[in-house]
């Protein structure tokens, strides 16, 4: 099963809100970030910015977190607040 990826806020507006990656053994949250950067030209600075956190199944996790097939990943820029 693929990994679904959501880009929120300006990341979604610039690079597309929804993406999919093929799951592979040993895939980490950080690796998802890198594969997106490879796939989307000009996204490196924005996606690797220190303020951009990663959520897996709606929980913020460190980049080292291992993924399982079918999980949902989201790249969260700094919240603007309400």
């Amino acid at each position: 099963m693929d990994i679904r990826i959501f880009l929120l806020g300006d990341l979604g507006a610039r690079f597309g809100r929804e993406h999919r990656l093929e799951f592979s053994e040993g895939l980490t949250a950080g690796e998802v970030r890198h594969r997106l950067i490879e796939r989307i030209e000009g996204s490196a600075a924005a996606l690797s910015a220190s303020g951009v956190r990663i959520a897996v199944d709606q929980t913020v996790v460190p980049d080292t977190t291992c993924l399982a097939p079918g999980q949902e990943v989201a790249l969260l820029p700094v919240f603007s607040g309400g």
Partner: protein
């Protein structure tokens, strides 16, 4: 105690929310509300509208967490939070916060705390649209300083 935090994708009436929140209340002497309105201008000039991007599920939980933290922290009876997502036009309410308490100091402090948390930690990504285009915005230095008044 009743603590609710609701996300709305369309306009809502803050006065109607207050009416419901007040209805039949007899043991609380104090109700403080905050209404955050979309402004028609910002530092950079006129604003024709806001767009609040959200992450379904995740954003709702960020609102609920903030409301629950306030309920634990202050001697209050009830909290009700309503927050918009999606497009918001100038003059419309973005956020409504109501706190009821036996005494007014706790109600004021809880409402103040709720807003400081919501303005920095609610999981929204806000875009301001104006005549010169759009820009995504982050909390202001003021917002961060206000938030820092409350130790965790």
């Amino acid at each position: 105690m009743s603590v609710s935090a609701i996300l709305r994708s369309g306009p809502f009436r803050a006065d109607a929310e207050l009416g419901l929140f007040l209805g039949g209340r007899q043991g609380d002497g104090a109700v403080v509300t905050f209404v955050g309105l979309a402004r028609d201008s910002a530092v950079d000039g006129p604003v024709s509208g806001l767009y609040l991007d959200h992450y379904p599920g995740f954003t709702e939980r960020s609102l609920e967490t903030i409301a629950a933290d306030a309920a634990r922290r202050f001697a209050i009876s009830d909290i009700h939070v309503v927050h918009r997502c999606g497009g918001v036009r100038p003059g419309e309410a973005i956020v409504f916060v109501a706190v009821a308490a036996p005494h007014r100091r706790a109600a004021f402090e809880a409402a103040d705390y709720l807003m400081d948390r919501l303005k920095t930690e609610a999981a929204f990504w806000k875009r301001e649209d104006g005549p010169d285009g759009s820009r995504w915005i982050e909390p202001t230095d003021n917002d961060r300083a206000d938030r820092a008044r409350w130790s965790d």
